[in-house]
Symmetry: C2
Subunit: 636 residues, 2 copies
């Protein structure tokens, strides 16, 4: 019994469904591939499709922006067919990559009260110049500068020889009616960078765009922004092409120090960025020359590698960055696909292990918006953290190791298709239940899965306080393996690889060291400023890691401090949002510089109290159980 | 009877001479070619040779600098052999080009009272940075900027990405003892351009050089300067490689407007400049990377062509320059052979036909050093002139046409070998005597020869006041030719070409128009500010043209105002000297900007009084003979 026909752009035949069917069911029936990393819970937003025509009902739109909805997007796993419909499955969803091109994340909303006229960094100003005459023989450049100064107050205009070469012909072709694009992001007091001069008739109605780029060690995120409105037009993420040359910053630096390694790494990350920009342009129909500016955030190593600056000294004691505050650069010098005269503004960092991703993160987290103490965390390979308020900021970085990114763990993997991302263990049978990204047979365990697994093992008594596996339990899942005691999370017959997926004692030691380093970092920050850690009124969690972890379980293992739920705030990719804010708003850009300049950096490797705090935190959840009252309660 | 042996490096056998012989005599005897453009008068300085060993006596050293003398140079035409000597004839003298590499002209002396420590534009500062430590993790760039600010007061440092890339390795290789080369030429108030960071041990004792470049329509002049002392190390001039694409600025602009003509012209002048720089480097043994800065002067068309800026609008009413005040540029963007990060500073111009050659000329002429009124003139294809004092400046340009450069005249030529450069006519026989550059059979007449010829023809009655040739005279030298009446300056048997060299009525008309335009320009300037022309206490004559003309004869034809001899000052190449001063001294550089900004430009083509003055000046010497009392006296 057929009620409706669903047509997918990628499928020759219409698919017959009954009223009430979900789009994913129609797709499954027709063999149309739509990725559902969260298993159809409407949580990840990655199954967004475009409804070209027909009636549907969206059960959840949590992961869709207003712009997405207006454009006609719907989550295939949450959308009910209520008529004959035509659906476009965005191509990015059909490939085995973590492109997230099809929705605007909540962190990408235009900041409240954003007033382009007042704070815009990149401005396109229409100027009607008086034509020269025998009575006014002012040179072209002088004429431009004078008119611009009168219109905007800009007194100093940085330009390039190439721009001067093009000026005269453009002025005359436009009959002295021009649009001048300038960037005043760095100096609100009258200095600007000239980006483009074009005939006013060409500029009218033409797009004016910018890029916010976050260069992560693992993932590169690019947002394309309409600078006229501030709206995010397109978001995409992609593995950093450098991954094959080392998974963490240290191995990248080592690779980059050999022969032409630095140039190779620069080329790889540029390729990643430019692939994302290309897809942004082709998906939005925007020409790359319309992209006038890019702000870039990332950790200090990523920033240096992108710019081709040798980063060796970051790795070697005393851990020095070549440059924390970069001058604005021209796009042609950096190599990003955009207007060649456009400005690339690398955001400032603080130290070798507290980079622009953290200053941008602090900006976007709102940490400085209140005099109340708050804690900002970005956990990845390193755990960077900032304690502070509108009055003061103190920061440190713990080299937690890559355990939470799945490295240094036997069956660890990145949060990709086939990764176990959440685990529940039955307290009587010790049998686990898992959720796997992509709803497929598991290949390994990712960071959030490991936190979840260790917490469950601890709360069910499989692990003791010291992280030792209890080998006396009546379950075949606890056994001795090659690496000592281990727990079997999935039997070979259930896995994609055909091998058992286990967690070993060595893995657990690594995870404990990682979580202890992070928790010890919190302690050092609080001690340094003389406040108790729980005086933090808010815990602001940035980074992609924060997007997926279960706070309760992270508290259970002593990774995050034991605080009321409502104090935790998951902010998603705070680094790219910070870059976005700095792209839009020159006051935000000035604030990032202020953040980078005013933050007190504590070098943990030179701090004895860190080692003490670290040792105390090597237990589950901590030596001092009074710090974790909710966990103590759950253990009883 | 042999007294001494003279060995020339270019000749296999020693040449035997007697005591008292001149070096040129020894050369002639052995067939060694040494150019003597002034005919052996010690006037042009172009026969300079290097005395490697042996005793000589220099009769005149007028055209040799102190540095030349110290290096062992002597003028072959003025040097007496007083022992066995070994002589090197610089290769530049053996080729048919106007290279003037072998002497330092008087205009190239270090300015009196020059104090590098106070006014130097390019500075190399030795800095001993504190090494970073776990207690001081300041980034490399911040460390450099802070140390530099403390040492020099520089608060803003313009750099390039490439320089930042190189910084870390240099700091560490030098063990934090570095030499930093910066240019503060444009902004004495704290902004500087970074040129080079190198280990202090490498910089110590190493040369630090600059270039002063004058790009003339006809000739390009390059000076290599030791910036540590301010001394000119090397001077060379060469025809502008663009000459084959048009002799005057208008034809260059037209050529440059076609297809890739602009790029071709840019390449040609760069080739000329770089050939000169190469010879400067090879002759002085200096590496081009030691050249940290170049200042460039030239007329507006030459400046724009060198920088690849389309100059079309200069030629078309209302005659607009694309840019008068260029920002400082990096050498790699301009294409001059020097340190790629070095600064190229194009000096500012005033208008399409009053360029940087004139602002630089005014600077070096000292026009502004006194409250007395003075007149500055630079006559070439165009006649540019400035009337002014320390208080005010007014300028104009007359398109005199290229007659004084030998074009538009039947047997005109540039001031090169074979050009008649001075003429005397016997008042009874009308027979001429001529001096020819290079003392060879004549090929044509150059500008100074034409002035001399017209003056002599006028004073001997061959020409009347109106410039008409008196055809009733009893001499075969006055005859009717293809172009009407003409005067034969050299018979075919005396000339290199085998043709008669004549001056025709058409030629004389062209010359009268040229001189009338220039004199009319003087009048317009004086009228505009309401002073009589003879209130000018000094007449400062710049440009290569001024080097060769005979003032008395220029007054005779009404080209220059009739003033006492002592008011005239021949300053040589004031444009390159201005560039030299601006290279050395940031106060001089600031003064050029002030000159360019404060000069009042009068557009003659929009000025009716110019046409009246021009018409009155079309006579010999002028309609109003009372303006030329000395000529009136000579005519009686």
């Amino acid at each position: 019994m057929t009620d409706y026909l669903v047509r997918f752009d990628s499928h020759p035949e219409p698919i017959e469904v009954q009223t009430g069917a979900l789009l994913v069911e129609a797709a499954r029936r027709g063999g149309v591939e739509i990725r559902q990393p969260c298993g159809g819970q409407g949580r990840c937003g990655r199954c967004a499709v475009l409804i070209e025509s027909g009636q549907v009902r969206r059960r959840s739109v949590l992961r869709l922006s207003k712009a997405d909805l207006e454009a006609g997007y719907a989550l295939a796993c949450q959308t009910v067919v209520e008529g004959d419909v035509a659906v476009v499955v965005p191509p990015a969803e059909q490939i085995q990559r973590r492109l997230t091109t099809d929705h605007v994340a909540p962190e990408a909303v235009v900041p409240e009260g954003y007033d382009p006229a007042r704070v815009q960094t990149v401005r396109r100003i229409l100027l009607e110049l008086s034509a020269p005459s025998m009575d006014d023989q002012t040179d072209d450049w002088g004429r431009l500068c004078t008119a611009l100064r009168r219109a905007t107050g800009v007194t100093r205009l940085d330009t390039t020889l190439e721009q001067i070469r093009r000026l005269g012909p453009v002025l005359r072709a436009s009959e002295w009616r021009i649009a001048v694009t300038i960037d005043t992001g760095r100096d609100p007091n009258g200095a600007a960078h000239l980006i483009r001069v074009e005939p006013a008739t060409v500029a009218e109605g033409a797009p004016l765009c910018g890029l916010a780029i976050d260069v992560g060690t693992t993932t590169v995120t690019v947002w394309l922004i309409d600078l006229l409105t501030g709206r995010v037009q397109f978001q995409a993420g992609e593995y950093n092409g450098q991954i094959s040359r080392g998974e963490d910053v240290i191995s990248r630096i080592i690779y980059g120090s050999k022969n032409d390694g630095g140039e190779e790494l620069r080329g790889l990350v540029l390729e990643t960025i430019n692939t994302l920009v290309d897809s942004a342009c082709s998906r939005t129909g925007i020409d790359a020359t319309a992209i006038a500016k890019a702000t870039v955030s990332g950790n200090s190593t990523m920033m240096h590698l992108l710019l081709g600056i040798p980063p060796e000294s970051i790795r070697l004691e005393p851990f020095i960055t070549p440059i924390n505050h970069m001058p604005p650069l021209r796009a042609s010098d950096v190599g990003i696909t955009m207007n060649a005269d456009g400005i690339v503004d690398p955001l400032p960092g603080v130290a070798s292990y507290v980079g622009a991703d953290i200053t941008a993160g602090v900006l976007s987290s709102g940490l400085r918006s209140s005099p109340e103490t708050a804690l900002f965390i970005d956990v990845g390979t390193n755990g960077e953290m900032v304690l502070g308020s509108s009055e003061w900021l103190v920061t440190c970085a713990c080299s937690a190791g890559p355990a939470f990114e799945g490295a240094g763990v036997l069956h660890g993997m990145r949060a990709d298709i086939g990764a176990i991302e959440e685990v529940w263990i039955d307290g009587r049978t010790y049998e686990p239940t898992s959720r796997v990204i992509g709803d497929v047979a598991p290949r390994g365990i990712c960071g959030s899965g490991l936190i979840s697994l260790v917490a469950e093992m601890f709360l069910t008594g499989i692990l003791d306080k010291g992280g030792h596996i209890n080998q006396t339990l009546a379950t075949p899942r606890v056994r001795r393996g090659l690496h000592g005691a281990e727990y079997v999370l999935a039997w070979s017959k259930e896995t994609e690889t055909g091998d058992d997926i286990v967690i070993t004692r060595v893995d657990i030691d690594n995870l404990l060291r990682a979580k202890a380093a992070i928790y010890a970092g919190f302690n050092v920050l609080a001690d340094r400023v003389g406040v108790p850690l729980d005086s933090a009124e808010r815990v602001l969690i940035g980074g992609s890691f924060g997007k997926y972890i279960n706070v309760e379980k992270a508290v259970d293992i002593g990774l995050l401090p034991d605080m009321p739920w409502e104090r935790f705030d998951f902010l998603g990719n705070t680094s790219v949002r910070g870059a976005y804010l700095a792209l839009l708003d020159r006051e935000a850009r000035a604030e990032i510089t202020e953040i980078a300049s005013s933050m007190t950096y504590i070098e943990l490797s030179a701090d004895n109290s860190f080692y003490e705090a670290f040792t105390s935190a090597l237990f589950l959840p901590h030596t001092d159980l009074s710090r974790f009252p909710s966990v103590a309660a759950a253990m009883t």
